[in-house]
């Protein structure tokens, strides 16, 4: 992750509702996120980061519980900046 520039915005563009996650058995976001931003917590919820996000959208696409992951683009000019994409 240290190879990529991230301009971290003040607003979290990913928000996870852990109450929904507690009933989720697959937690596909944990393994599928290419930036490894999601970590399961001992109480069955999900701890999430937004700072080093590639903004790919994998997490909300693989999420099987509607409404658990709220995903928007970061504010203009913030977020990942690829130089060699």
């Amino acid at each position: 992750m240290a190879t990529v520039e991230f301009r971290v915005g003040a607003r979290a563009h990913i928000v996870v509702d852990s109450d929904v996650c507690r009933s989720c058995t697959t937690k596909a976001c944990v393994s599928a996120c290419p930036a490894n931003l999601f970590a399961p917590t001992s109480d069955g919820g999900i701890l999430f980061n937004y700072e080093q996000c590639f903004e790919c959208g994998t997490c909300y696409m693989v999420c099987n519980s509607e409404g658990a992951i709220e995903w928007t683009y970061p504010d203009g000019g913030q977020g990942v900046v690829f130089r060699h994409g």
């Binding site: 520039e5 301009r7 003040a10 504010d75 203009g76 900046v81 130089r83």
Partner: protein, 309 residues
């Protein structure tokens, strides 16, 4: 818009100056420069120049100070025309902009900070007597950080550097600045205008420009300061030597544990098999070199055979 004045000083773009002049002295740079680990060569893409976090804070503080005083902001940067898009951002926020042409402004520590500061100070003076000059206290362009102090020297202004907060007193031309001290303490300074302040990226973020202003400013020509006679670069104040291999520090080894006997054995190594020292000389240079190479070879230090890929 600029008044189109044809005097010796080009009119900076943006609203015409009213009230006290607040200068945001910016150092746009490629925020992600690559350093070659072997040669130390720095690769930067100046088309990607942008404001660093502390330069963003400097511009935001300038805008706030100008609002409080009813003054205007001049965004100033030294460098090639490639920096203009960054200055356009400042124009979109209501500032005037001016670029000081400077070819080696981004050559890192080798930049001639004295000459650069003189050129910046001359450009500031040309725009009018400043009430406040705000700089970012850190830039990825790898300068040595002397420019703000040198500008203060040239302008004969007070200086307060490395600030975490900066507010201006609306009624008087006084700046209230806060600076970190050791041990979690802070000092609060009252600085009289004219002043040069450098700010950390703390507490504020640069505001977003309204869409219409961003659209208007995009592609607008940024005026260039007249070149200054007498501030030509006199060469770098700091000399940079060639890159050298990394030499790690001596490794500290923990003392052996256990009883006296065990410690003694461990320290002297009497029961550990080892090659006894051997006297090989005196030898001629060729034989001596051969001996050394054989020794290195035998201890796993042999150089890779054949030319490296």
């Amino acid at each position: 818009m600029a008044d189109g004045g044809q005097g010796p000083a080009p009119a900076p773009v943006g609203p015409s100056p009213v009230g006290p002049l607040v200068v945001a002295c910016l150092d746009p740079a490629d925020l992600r420069q690559e350093v070659d680990p072997l040669t130390g060569e720095v690769r930067a893409d100046w088309r990607r120049a942008d404001l660093s976090a502390s330069d963003g804070a400097a511009l935001e503080h300038s805008l706030r100070a100008a609002e409080a005083w009813g003054g205007t902001v001049l965004a100033l940067a030294a460098g090639p025309p490639g920096l203009d898009p960054v200055l356009e951002q400042a124009v979109a926020l209501g500032a005037r902009a001016l670029r000081v042409p400077w070819s080696d402004a981004h050559s890192g520590p080798a930049v001639d900070a004295v000459a650069l500061a003189a050129a910046l100070a001359a450009a500031i003076s040309q725009a009018g007597p400043p009430a406040l000059v705000v700089c970012g206290d850190r830039s990825p362009s790898r300068g040595i950080g002397a420019v703000p102090a040198l500008i203060a020297h040239h302008l004969g202004a007070e200086q307060a550097l490395g600030l975490v907060s900066l507010t201006v007193d609306q009624s008087s031309q006084v700046v209230i600045a806060e600076r970190r001290l050791d041990g979690g303490w802070r000092e609060r300074l009252r600085v009289r205008a004219p002043a040069v302040c450098s700010v950390e990226a703390a507490g504020v973020r640069l505001r977003r420009a309204p869409f219409a202003a961003a659209l208007r400013s995009s592609g607008q020509p940024i005026p260039v300061a007249a070149s200054q006679s007498g501030v030509a670069s006199t060469g770098a104040q700091l000399r940079i030597g060639g890159p050298r291999p990394y030499r790690p520090r001596t490794k500290a080894v923990a003392p052996p544990m256990g009883g006296t006997h065990d410690r003694l054995l461990a320290l002297t190594g009497v029961l550990v098999a080892h090659d006894p020292p051997r006297i090989v000389g005196p030898l001629g240079p060729v034989e001596a070199a051969g001996e050394l190479l054989d020794f290195l070879d035998g201890h796993g230090y042999s150089p890779p055979s054949g030319p490296a890929q």
